[in-house]
């Protein structure tokens, strides 16, 4: 039910982000979703890619500091209150969303969000109980 996210530590230097995309592009790794959190000095780039292992290896080989994080991809109804319904059921159980970002999907009536929870397993349980569709990693990477 979980998905693998790559986290890359980046210094805020001109061209550093372009280096990541260059390495991935040269190795034909496709980026499916991303989010960048930053301060004035450094940032952390989080990526969902079509080939996690390959991305990790080529980035490491090119001198990047790469980490692995477990996230959950859930379908959110594309209508008012869709996201709120999910956040509401989680907060009821005290599960905290550490961060979240959107997954780009070409078609389909639902939006897909990537969530990082403080208690991943409990979050999955809650979402499943409430009939929220979770997209497993192997499907997500190929979507």
């Amino acid at each position: 039910m979980k998905s693998e996210q790559i986290s890359i530590f980046l210094e805020n230097r001109a061209g550093r982000l372009a280096e990541v995309t260059r390495v991935l592009s040269e190795n034909k790794v496709n980026i499916r979703a991303l989010s960048l959190a930053d301060t004035s000095d450094f940032g952390i780039l989080r990526l969902i890619v079509d080939d996690f292992e390959k991305a990790k290896t080529v980035l490491k080989d090119n001198g990047f500091t790469v980490g692995r994080t477990t996230v959950v991809a859930a379908e959110v109804a594309d209508q008012p209150g869709g996201l709120h319904a999910i956040l509401g059921m989680l907060s009821e159980h005290g599960v905290n969303v550490e961060y979240m970002y959107a997954f780009v999907q070409q078609s389909g009536k639902n939006a897909v969000m990537i969530f990082r929870f403080d208690r991943t397993d409990q979050a999955i349980e809650i979402l499943q109980k409430n009939n929220i569709k979770i997209i497993p990693g192997d499907q997500l990477y190929k979507m």
């Binding site: 996210q5 986290s7 530590f9 980046l10 210094e11 959190a37 930053d38 301060t39 000095d41 450094f42 940032g43 952390i44 989080r46 001198g63 990047f64 500091t65 980490g67 994080t69 550490e98 990082r116």
Partner: protein
Amino acid sequence: MLYDVETETMPREDLEKLQLRRLQSLVERVYANVPFYRKKLDEKGVKPADIRSLSDVQYLPFTEKQDLRNNYPFGLFAVPRENVVRIHSSSGTTGKATVVGYTRRDVRTWASLMARSFVAAGANSADIVHNAYGYGLFTGGLGVHYGAEELGATIVPVSGGSTRRQVQLLKDFGPTVICSTPSYMQYLYEAAVDAGIDIKELPLRIGIFGAEPWTEEMRRDLENKLGITAVDIYGLSEIMGPGVAIECREAQNGLHMAEDHFLPEIIDPVTGEPLPAGSVGELVITTLTKEALPLLRYRTRDLTRLDYVPCKCGRTHVRMHRIMGRSDDMLIIRGVNVFPSQIESIILETEGTAPHYQIIVKREASLDTMEIRVEVDEKFLSHEIRGLQMLEGKIQKSIKEFLGVTAKVKLVEPKTIERSEGKAKRIIDLRNS
């Protein structure tokens, strides 16, 4: 274990008699053979016969690095050039290079002192010594080399550089002793990790690290990561090279100076006045037995203190505290004295950072600013900005607390601070450029 039991455990009274005899003979020799010293002694009105006790050393003139430069290359030699069998030279990183010469006997003395150092570190003739100090004009490589041969150990003369190859040799030859700068050992360790080699699994058991100031925290870090005993060694080319002083493995607490050959003093670096026993100040060394380039009261610029309390290892020779910094490395940040080693201690005590750092000092609108770049440790790298910001804040707070200065702490990507195969360059001072 001791290499030269009689000398190393000599009662202090006898040691001091030996030192006085050698000091008297030294002053006579330089007065007779080195015009520079004859002139200096005459200016001070001191004659060789005036040296009647060890404390009379304070009436002798100082020798500074600049004096060696002014007499470049052979002007201070006390023997005819044909009696000099080897020349070494300092790197000249802080100005014009200085040249030192050795007679055949000087080279032998050096080898025996380096062998003595190996034994103090716990090595013996059955050891294989991986020597990663640079060979050439720098004294580190050849100094260690001759010492290991004198001891009868197996020396692997790797020198500096070709780090990947060095990792391979560590694996293939299984050295039991390694000699390098502590910062290069960190670099070698990383290279070994990258190559998938766990140094802890290799037979390596002793590390002899020196040629740059390092801290107790760095020692613990190296010992834990490498599974070795790490000792500090001290030497400087003007005096001889490695082997002037070394920590014993029994105490790992201060470096025994070979007092039968070197007479140490601690002075106030500003006034030049001798300081009472135990005070922190600049180390001054008089070479008691050197033939080719004897030096009176050489100002090392290294800051330390001397401890005459008997050591549990049985050696009676004085212990110098690890170098706390160099008087010329001291940064004055808005009036506060800061040594890179203090910053190193704080960084190494903070989990989540690697022992690679650089200090950048600038002047902005007539105010000094200090930025400390610290590499984040891959192991602790989080996908959370918050954790990393807390790490920055933690280091910054400790620096403010312990040193009283505000520094900007900047986390940088692992392996982005330049690695050195010799002495690490910790400070970039842009204030006067």
